[in-house]
Amino acid sequence: MIDRSTNASLHVIGDQAAPGLIMAPASQLDAIRRILDEHHIYYWVDEEYISFDGEPDVAFINFSRDVDPKRVQKLLDEAA
């Protein structure tokens, strides 16, 4: 999946030591939620969005430690 504000691929931050996180435009949150819900991936979204340098709001999507960031990355890539 492409980040519409940067035109780069959405990236899942995280590894075995740290739980996963996606920073994505808030306008794409619904599309990301659909993918995660469809694959029964446990996540929660910060209550707050943040805008950097006047750009569109960014949402922060958090994953449980049990969720493999690589799996989520694969799902996002396949949705591109």
């Binding site: 931050i13 995280g14 030591a17 920073m23 910060d46 950097f52 958090n62």
Partner: protein, 232 residues
Amino acid sequence: MSLAAAVQKHRDSVLAELAAVHDYYANTKRAWRIVQGMVSRRGRFSAFNAATGNRTTEQDLPQKAQLYVADYLAGATFQQFVSLFEDFTFGILQCWLLAYPQRLGRKQIPASIVLGAADLDEVKLAIVNRELNEIKYRNVRDWFAEMGQVVKLGCPTDDEIERLAEIKASRDVLVRNRGVANAIYEEKSAGRKRFSTGQKLEIPETYHRESWELIRKVVGDVSTAALGKAPN
């Protein structure tokens, strides 16, 4: 100070601190989110921690920050919420028992408490604190059963007590078992358990927020009920 004034003062102090801890959580998370967002966009840096010998760069700070936010920060502030809940509960019991110490009239105490006290109030305080220390080691359901013996308030509800028991059990696991659920957690949290033995506990933001809201509600409800029973 009257019993009502003591209850009000205690309630206001706990509510103010609950708000302060949640503000600390929200603002610290916000700061980390800004760092994560800025670094992932264009920031380049390298920092060396002389104490640990570890170097951090823009490559690994965003994911370390996620560990700090989702694990360390949420866990630490959650523990503070529970400490405030304990402080509130035992503070109310202390107010009540100091106002009506006759309930402890049959308790036996070491003579040293009496001999070392400057006045009768100091003796009362020592007796009450001894009693509270004994109750603290019991489970949350027993705390409120004990409160019901001291003064019948009609709150929290059984469901709220069950939730509080799980919250307290989660805190105990974080403090005493490096965050790994064990049999004691399962027993204390009973039907409300979120994890099984051997699993690492997590404090998702929704749970963090709901725990804070529940504790805040119970502090308000119990205080209001207590004030309704306290003579002016």
